[in-house]
Amino acid sequence: MARAEAAAATFERRVLRGAAEHQYLRVRLELPDGGARPSVAQLKQLVVSALRELHGEVGAALPVDILTYDAKTLSAILRVISSGLVKLWSALTLLGSYQNRRCAFRVLQTSPFLLALAGNSRELVLD
């Protein structure tokens, strides 16, 4: 937190164009009812195997972080370096099975700003 209380800040403006290092995806895994739900480590494994299936070993090396995971709703927030967004998204879309059961990843929201995922007006139920 702020240490020295310096003189009042002078106005300064910085515009960062397309500078985000990471992209964030909020996803939900859809599985048929009644079956084992993946743990967070298994989910990560699933994502890596999806990347390997479509983009090979180089794709599997793409750094993907699982920032949050809710085993109840099977929803997660993933973080990937910006240049890997298309690779990750395509790998998730084309993934079709988990432990020999059919499954699908739904990408609910994506943004270069993690903060944007905290407030999605499309999911807002006001009445």
């Binding site: 937190m1 702020a2 240490r3 020295a4 209380e5 310096a6 003189a7 009042a8 800040a9 002078t10 106005f11 300064e12 403006r13 910085r14 515009v15 960062l16 164009r17 397309g18 500078a19 985000a20 990471h22 992209q23 964030y24 967070v40 480590a41 990560k44 750094p63 972080d65 699982i66 920032l67 949050t68 927030i77 973080r79 910006s82 240049s83 890997g84 967004l85 298309v86 690779k87 929201q109 994506t110 943004s111 270069p112 700003f113 993690l114 903060l115 944007a116 995922l117 905290a118 407030g119 999605n120 007006s121 499309r122 807002l124 006001l126 009445d127």
Partner: protein, 365 residues
């Protein structure tokens, strides 16, 4: 695979993050104008480190955020009606936005407090309407979406003018448009009729913003220096790092991972310090800028008395499907419709302001 397609594989959707710093009590500071210019807000949240109980004055400010209204199946021509303009548009700040419409698929309408009615419609509707507009900025070479702007407070828009009659005819007979509208009205002067009584014959519902409080224990907070937007290695964090950290806090992301962790390598930016507790408050609804300015002012006053916290933050999320973001600059939905801003208020009332927009948006003012 050919080279261009490989490059496209690595492409990032366009986005902008504008960071400003200044002083909240500077007479030339435009921070309040940025709030005022962002008309449609669905979520306001603030975080105060080292705060367990909210001061009474802040509590009452939050309680005073005010009702808004949801009117079902309202024809757009009712907003152009002479009585409506005189009773609400000209006598205060009137906000209206279509509810549950998606700007990348549906027709959308919005009424700005400046009295501008903005219709964002698809090509077919535009051609049927027969009102003058312009192709959407983000619709490519072959325009599939058009924007019609009608200034309701214009002097040429009086009850008997040809222009108004044509607009009424277009919206009433030529192509009647009906939406569910979110409405809010703010006026400082004498009490006139209310939206509730004006639309009493319609299906109108008064709604209260949802307010939630929570306290976080042992939170890692980045160290910030108000005059160092870009941060200094080993001394303070940059504005981008703070922005990501704040996203992590609001999404309940764990902050203490190791760089070797299999699951996530995200950790709180360096340098940071442990804060014993932090107070979080979220307000969701249709929140008008006037109320956000009041809240911002009260948050500045929080530092009037000596406090342990060095800074606090106020975050505002805009509607992803509103046809404008700041002022009248067009807004669209590409991979996301993000338009949000965040204030960091420092103890000495310096502020940082971060404005973020996605692909289909102009640079914030």
């Amino acid at each position: 695979m050919s080279v261009p397609s490989l490059q496209r594989l690595r492409q990032v959707p366009r986005h902008l993050l504008v960071c400003e710093k200044g002083h909240a009590r500077d007479a030339r500071s435009r921070h309040a104008a940025h709030v005022r210019d962002h008309a449609y807000n669905c979520r306001v949240s603030f975080l105060i480190p080292e705060c367990g109980m909210l001061p009474e004055v802040l509590k009452s400010t939050i309680a005073d955020v005010g009702d808004y209204y949801l009117v079902r199946n309202l024809s757009v021509h009712e907003l152009v009606a002479h009585e409506f303009i005189d009773a609400f548009v000209k006598k205060g700040s009137c906000y209206a936005l279509t509810y549950n419409t998606k700007i990348d698929q549906d027709n959308t309408a919005a009424l700005l407090p400046t009295g501008k009615l903005i219709l964002s419609v698809d090509k077919d509707t535009y051609e049927e309407l027969g009102l003058q507009g312009r192709p959407s900025q983000y619709s490519g070479k072959k325009a599939m979406r058009y924007i019609v702007t009608i200034d309701l407070t214009d002097s040429t828009f009086h009850p008997d003018s040809k222009k108004r009659n044509r607009v009424l005819w277009a919206l009433k007979e030529k192509k009647p448009l009906e939406f569910d509208f979110l409405l809010a009205w703010y006026n400082t002067g004498a009490e006139g009729s209310t939206l509730m009584s004006y639309f009493s014959k319609k299906q109108i519902q008064a709604l209260k913003p949802k307010i939630t409080f929570s306290t976080l224990r042992d939170l890692q907070c980045p160290v910030l220096q108000s005059n160092e937007l870009q941060g200094k290695p080993e001394e303070s964090c940059s504005t981008e790092e703070l922005f990501e950290w704040l996203g992590a806090v609001w999404n309940q992301v764990s902050l203490d991972n190791k760089s070797s962790s299999f699951l996530s390598t995200y950790c709180c930016p360096q340098p940071n310090m442990m804060v014993e507790k932090a107070f979080l408050c979220t307000i969701t609804g249709f929140i008008i800028p006037e109320k956000i300015i009041q809240l911002l002012e009260q948050l500045c006053c929080y530092f009037g008395e000596p406090k342990l916290a060095y800074w606090l933050t106020l975050t505002v999320h805009g509607f992803a499907d509103s046809p404008v973001s700041w002022r009248e600059s067009e807004h669209g939905f590409h991979k996301g419709g993000e338009n949000l801003y965040n204030f960091v208020i420092f103890r000495n009332l310096d502020y940082w302001l971060q404005l973020a927009v996605g692909t289909y948006d102009d640079c914030p003012p």
